[in-house]
């Protein structure tokens, strides 16, 4: 008997080992799509926007709609509608507008369990796509309580970004993914007789209701639980500013009135659909403007001998968070009005509104043959400056003064200071609309600037880098003319702009950043290798983006004290200086050759003296103690946290199949039960107890 048992168990063991391949049932059941973009939850003081799924994901029968005709026939197809309780509609991204979505939501109502958008191929992208509002940032604009007519700057805007959906929305942009999806769909979509395709979308979000609720819940902690959960984070990154180190005003000295020129650019954008570690879009807004801004900083640094002769200060400021109701600009003005600008050193004379001469802003630059200069207020603007700018660069047109300003950070600077200085905005925005067809969407990628990102090299001269050179040189020249009064033709090496274009649009871990930082800082960029355009909504310091250190080091290096370069300090004394000097920062770097004078032959690195400050740019609403977050005085945007994102396809069997499976299962269970009872009753040998033999 025992021998028989041993033999049987040996045989069973072999069969078991042979059959058990390392495959899990789950893997056999689902087909995952790993490169799907998704829409998340964001909150402000009064509303929530975006989308989310249930905690276990939303699933339903997949239904694919490619064009308007199919869309209409689907809505009228009562038979299909009634056949299932839940649908996941797979929609061509071209049909993603408020009209189609509203009709779909109205017709399907609670049966609409999710939406998956697809892009057929790179060339099939819509002609225009912008989920932003038609009048971007209208909730907190300069013209909020004024009678000025509202201009719909972004007429292509669908406003879908600012709507709240009760279901998840995802997007697949890879052609392979679309083909895979289509293959399954065609295979299993022939009516009731075959299994149907189902989709499961999982984008559960932690935050809910409003920023006020969410921030309150963030603060609740119980002493019994060590782990304090955060549901949402305030939107904002870093406001970074730099200037020539020679122009620091230390306390006993008075800063002359109207002596500070602020040059502004933003470092953020938003997209309705995002995906971590993938390009976010934002080439025309804000990347082009940011490259122009950095190139201008280089030109000002290059011509610093001229500029330090007079008592004007040019401060380069990057703002992060302005895409969402200008929270960065509010923070900047809040700091300035409270005597915290510049931050960091109390011995430095603070800059107040009265010290500001003018502000110049670069906004949304698209590579067009024309550019427009918006200015305000008409009684303060320096017409000579505008005239000489137009004289130096024929591409620039002046917008008649008195026309409302386009969406730009300057609006908040003017609003908070009662327009006590002039603002000039250089943008690809004409009198009534933004020329960017993909404003604030992920389609705003380098291809819109005629760049083929796969072939872009570190030093490729592209159309856009030439275009920027043509803009920035006359601009710097005009600045020097109007500030110093010297007519001087200035030149920037094309290579510098090429490098900036490569670093920002393709790979932040580029040679430039390694040249302008020390080794340890340079190494922190390695995890971001091949990271391009991280221009999304930032929740610093929770989310880490390479943009801020990149801007800090590049801007600081471009505006360095060039006379200090020649001192040839060794690394050790560079560190000592950094320790002693509270006003400037000192970095020992290898050096970026195109930016260095040809006559200095420094081989093993040198010490760079620069002026650099940064402050967190979250809205003042989160800083003012006991501020009521439901008030609308300051923007109060927060972004929800999330943990899992997944998109999976599975098969929904037919009803007959399901019933048969259930019956077979029940039968098997009962048979095995009876069989065991039978064995137990009739077998004398118990396997569980040692036999007596």
């Amino acid at each position: 008997m025992r021998l028989l048992f041993l033999l049987a168990s040996f045989y069973l063991q072999n069969v078991f080992v042979f059959c058990s391949q390392p495959k899990r049932v789950v893997d056999q059941m689902y087909v995952s799509f790993d490169h799907a973009r998704y829409c998340v939850r964001r909150l402000n003081g009064t509303h929530e926007i975006g989308c989310q799924s249930a905690i276990r994901g939303n699933s339903g029968r997949m239904f694919m709609i490619d064009n308007d005709k199919e869309f209409n026939s689907y809505l009228n197809d009562n038979k299909t509608m009634n056949s299932f309780d839940a649908f996941i509609i797979v929609l061509n991204v071209n049909l993603f507008d408020s009209n189609h979505i509203d009709r779909l939501m109205k017709r399907l109502d609670t049966k609409l369990n999710g939406l998956l958008l697809y892009l057929k191929s790179k060339s099939a992208r819509p002609l225009d796509f912008s989920p932003d509002d038609q009048c971007p940032n209208h909730r907190n604009s300069f013209y909020l309580n004024q009678t000025t007519e509202t201009i719909n700057w972004n007429r292509r805007g669908t406003g879908l970004f600012f709507r709240s959906f009760p279901f998840p929305i995802m997007l697949i942009e890879e052609e392979d993914d679309y083909q895979r999806l289509l293959k399954f769909y065609q295979q299993f979509s022939n009516g009731q007789s075959t299994p149907a395709c189902g989709l499961e979308l999982k984008t559960f979000q932690s935050a809910a209701h409003t920023t006020k609720t969410c921030m309150r819940r963030n603060d609740i902690s119980h002493s019994l639980i060590d782990f304090q959960e955060t549901f949402c984070d305030p939107i904002g990154g870093l406001n970074i500013y730099s200037k020539l180190p020679q122009s620091i005003t230390i306390v006993p000295d008075q800063r002359p009135l109207k002596s500070v020129i602020l040059i502004l650019a933003s470092t953020d954008s938003f997209q309705m659909f995002l995906e971590t570690k993938r390009p976010t879009g934002g080439s025309q807004q804000p990347a082009t403007a940011l490259i122009t801004f950095l190139a201008l900083a280089h030109l000002i640094g290059q011509e610093q001998d001229e500029l330090t002769k007079q008592n004007k200060e040019i401060i380069f400021v990057t703002l992060d968070g302005d895409a969402m109701d200008y929270s960065a600009s509010y923070k900047f003005m809040f700091d300035m009005n409270n005597g915290n600008f510049p931050s960091g050193n109390k011995n430095e004379r603070p800059i107040e509104t009265k010290h500001i001469h003018s502000i110049i802003e670069f906004q949304s630059l698209s590579m067009n043959s024309e550019l427009w200069l918006h200015s305000y207020p008409s009684k303060l603007i320096d017409q000579n400056f505008i005239d000489s700018l137009i004289k130096n660069n024929r591409k620039i047109n002046q917008i008649p003064t008195g026309t409302p300003l386009p969406p730009a950070s300057s609006q908040i600077f003017l609003q908070q200071t009662s327009s006590s200085f002039p603002a000039y905005i250089l943008a690809s925005i004409n009198q009534n609309q933004i020329l960017n067809r993909y404003y604030h969407s992920f389609f705003d990628d380098p291809s819109t600037l005629s760049i083929n990102i796969s072939t872009l090299e570190y030093n490729t001269t592209t159309q856009v880098s030439q275009w920027i050179k043509q803009i920035v040189e006359p601009f710097a020249q005009t600045l020097i003319e109007s500030l110093v009064g010297v007519n001087k033709t200035v030149h920037i090496k094309q290579e510098i702009i090429n490098n900036l274009v490569y670093c920002i649009l393709k790979n932040m871990n580029c040679p430039l950043i390694h040249n302008v930082t020390n080794q340890s800082v340079g190494n922190t960029f390695q995890p971001f290798d091949q990271t391009s355009m991280p221009f999304s909504i930032n929740t610093y310091p929770t989310s880490i983006t390479p943009t801020f250190p990149f801007i800090q080091y590049v801007l600081g290096y471009f505006l360095r004290d060039r006379s200090f370069d020649l001192q040839n300090l060794p690394e050790k004394s560079c560190k000592e200086r950094a320790y002693k000097d509270n006003f400037c920062s000192y970095t020992f770097v290898d050096g970026y050759l195109p930016s260095m004078n040809s006559n200095n032959t420094l081989s093993s690195g040198y010490c760079v003296r620069s002026y650099l400050r940064s402050v967190q740019s979250i809205s003042p609403a989160f800083i003012i103690p006991n501020y009521d977050l439901s008030k609308t005085e300051y923007p109060t945007w927060t972004e929800s946290r999330w943990t899992t994102i997944s998109l999976r396809l599975f098969l929904i069997p037919t009803r007959t199949h399901e019933i048969v499976t259930l019956i077979i299962g029940m039968m098997l269970t009962s048979i095995s039960f009876f069989f065991l009872c039978f064995l137990r009753y009739y077998t004398k040998v118990s396997l569980l107890q040692p036999s007596s033999s």
Partner: protein, 120 residues
Amino acid sequence: MFTYPTNLKFEADNGCQFTLAINSYYEERISTETEEQWFRGFAFLPLLWLINFIWFFRQAFKVEPYPQQAEIRKYVIRSAIGTFIWCIIIIAWNIIFQQLRTRLGPAGDYLTFVVPRGYY
């Protein structure tokens, strides 16, 4: 808490028909014990009443009558009523809290021990 002597328990577990030989000493102890438990239960301890009820139910209703049984029965019944009232209070609060948690605003959040993710 007072417990039965082990020999009695063994007899009861056996499942056989025994007449329990409880002497008057034990009956006295049980009587005072139920009374004490009943008063202790007023310190917001509904579980104590529940235990009092379950533990002495047999003594109060199932065994042969003896002099102290009336007293024991009184406190056992009172404990049962107390438990019942407490159950109503707890269940009602549970329903009210779950229904009104979001509508209570800050108070609802501060009363919540583990805030659920993603829901109002």
